[in-house]
Amino acid sequence: MKFSEMRVLKHILVLFFLICLIPMMVYYFEFSGLDKISWILAGLLIIQFSFRKRLAFKPFYTSKLNIFTSKYSKEKTFDLQKDLLFDKVLEIVNEKRNYHLLDSDKETFRILIGTSLTAKSISENLYLDLVEIRGKTKIHFTSVAFQLYSWGKNEDNFTEFINNVEESFVI
């Protein structure tokens, strides 16, 4: 079985689990209990979205203890100086419609990008940490979706972002 087929199978299994979960919750908690759970979940969602636009809250969203976000991290090295790549990424974010610059810090070379609403998710935060090693720059990429399961959106974000950076080197 191919990797892409396995990914689709994984999504189908999760969907099946979620469909089964709703009648189980109705059975065990009754409708009044469900009402309270819905309010708690809505409150947690509001909290999650309130601080998402600041780089300072990265540890909160990327923490393994935060079970209400799904995370994906990967690294990619580019043959370019850190400051030049930093400006390049900001340029890409300004050009692309589906990216919004939420926060950036040129002293620590960290960038926070927000993505647009899609059918798979409301929005994700993309945290980029740039580290220069012997003239080359490593981008540590972390995509955070504000939901329990990202439906592969986090992985797609990484591929799409790297493709955008690679494409921008055609001048």
Binding site: D87, K88, V170, I171
Partner: protein, 68 residues
Amino acid sequence: MPIVVNLDVMLAKRKMKSKELANLIGISTVNLSILKQGKGKAIRFSTLHAICKALDCQPGDILEYQES
């Protein structure tokens, strides 16, 4: 890479600043820096045309093949 970009040399010959050239040809200073350092993946004919026009030179004055 065996292709060397001599944009710095041409800019010095024409006594032109990078920012000035970037404005003239309509690309960002970041892209021009990447191009000058030879770190770009490819160069569009339209960009090459604009550079040659702005610096009044031939593509061969900017790009050079050097066996590594």
